[in-house]
């Protein structure tokens, strides 16, 4: 039986991890490779690296980082942040990334999804969608959630699937950072209306939030950052509890 995935997310700026890393037992908590190794050895099923740099050397720094991560860890990983062309993706995949995640560039140029899926295969194309509930409707937002669009989350998600994305990473901006749980209603609607895997993101605070994302939200995977980085939840205790709740996990 396919297991539910637990995915720590690392924010990267200029080749270093940023935002809420508090690993006292790591020699250098800002080193993404060391952090990735820690997670891969401690039960993470997959990792996501989200590059938030704005420098001109960003591409090269990210490509170098991907190469180092691929050399080091023995689990799959996805790379996202500022990817906007077939060439960008080619470099990252050739350097050893398993999947890439695109977001704003897909909204600006939806054909990019088709182009990437036909060149590299759907299995390595993740489309990330950030959305916010406005007057009862989930609206897609861009640029890390700063810029609202007229796009409806569910319409966009269906289009993304049709264009060949292999997976959707859905972040609820209303839940992100609250530690009050994932957006389970929207997750469930996505998961039942679409036939590709859905990764839940935004709102993890307690172990039971993950249970709910799988049982109520019907998510295929759950992503979180700070609860793992600050060791509020360890992956092994999380998986123990999920297993007790009857949710299939890899241990």
């Amino acid at each position: 039986m396919l297991t539910k995935r637990i995915i720590p997310c690392l924010d990267i700026k200029n080749g270093r991890t940023v935002k809420g890393i508090n690993f006292l037992d790591l020699r250098d908590a800002g080193d993404p490779v060391e952090l990735a190794k820690f997670y891969s050895e401690n039960g993470a099923d997959e990792l996501v690296f989200l590059d938030i740099s704005a420098t001109e050397e960003r591409r090269k720094t990210l490509a170098d980082l991907v190469l180092k991560v691929a050399e080091t860890i023995n689990i799959p990983f996805t790379v996202g942040g500022g990817i906007s062309s077939v060439e960008d993706v080619e470099i990252l995949l050739n350097n050893g990334a398993d999947k890439v995640s695109i977001n704003s560039s897909a909204v600006k140029n939806p054909q990019l999804i088709n182009d990437l899926a036909s060149k590299f295969g759907s299995q390595c194309i993740v489309v990330a969608i950030d959305a916010k509930l406005i007057d009862g409707n989930w609206k897609v937002h861009l640029v890390g959630g700063k810029v609202p669009t007229a796009l409806d989350l569910f319409d966009w998600a269906k289009q993304v699937e049709k264009r060949g994305a292999g997976e959707i990473l859905f972040t609820s901006m209303d839940n992100d950072g609250t530690k009050n749980g994932f957006a389970n209603k929207a997750l469930k609607k996505l998961s039942t209306q679409l036939n590709i895997p859905i990764i839940a993101s935004g709102g993890a605070g307690k172990i039971h939030h993950f249970t709910d994302a799988f049982n109520i939200g019907k998510a295929d995977a759950a992503l979180a950052a700070s609860v793992f980085h600050f060791k509020e939840i360890t992956i092994s205790e999380l998986k123990n509890e999920l297993q007790i709740q009857g949710i299939p996990v890899r241990k």
């Binding site: 297991t3 689990i75 398993d98 036939n195």
Partner: protein, 203 residues
């Protein structure tokens, strides 16, 4: 020991090279027939679309080389699928080594299957020291149905072949290079295979 990874321009082959490096083994990426034939072990990887991968193999003549290799060969993911008779993906003929046709998962399950799933009914020395129901990482929309060459099965809406073996040819649908320590064990087992394969199928 000389390990060759067949390089025919299909997808991410760095990962397998890196995984072998972590095991202390240097592998050569090549499409050169002489180098492939003289290797002790051949790894036939593949990520991407079946019909275009077959075209690339034909263009380089490797479609004639691979099925005639005598040393242990490990097809991974699309590599395994290409060793089969046919694939529904792009309706292409395969290399015809495994007597089974690759078909698409039905819509009763999410497609692609992405994630960790158990391998069961393990029947080969490839799985030495690997536990029944060990989790492996898989990413695929097409699968090989169960057949006489099945040496491991997995369940995703139905039971299908997650590994195949015939003579010196092994194929795995999962990615051992991305499947943590259990995957590394399978790679080690492959590297440890001798060319004498006569008694390696445990049935």
């Amino acid at each position: 020991m000389k390990i060759v990874i067949v390089n025919y321009g299909a997808g991410n082959i760095q990962s397998i090279k890196f995984a072998l490096n972590r095991l202390g083994v240097e592998a050569i990426l090549t499409d050169d027939e002489t180098k492939i034939r003289s290797a002790d072990k051949v790894i036939f990887p593949g990520v991407g679309e079946a019909s275009s991968a077959m075209q690339k193999l034909k263009a380089s003549g490797l479609d004639k080389v691979i099925p005639t290799l005598k040393q242990p060969v490990l097809g991974i993911c699309l590599g395994m699928q290409l060793l089969c008779n046919t694939s529904e993906e792009g309706n292409t003929k395969g290399l015809g080594f495994f007597d089974v046709g690759v078909v698409k998962f039905s819509n009763s399950v999410k497609v692609p299957q992405i994630g960790w799933n158990q391998i069961q009914n393990l029947k080969s020395n490839l799985f030495e020291a690997v536990s029944e129901n060990e989790n492996m990482y898989l990413v695929h929309s097409y699968y090989a149905p169960l057949c006489k060459e099945t040496i491991a099965s997995s369940e995703y809406g139905l039971q299908y072949s997650s590994a195949l073996q015939k003579d010196n040819f092994y194929g795995v649908q999962f990615h051992p290079e991305k499947s943590s320590t259990a995957g590394e064990q399978i790679l080690k087992n492959f590297l440890n295979l001798t060319s004498n394969i006569s008694n390696q199928i445990k049935r």
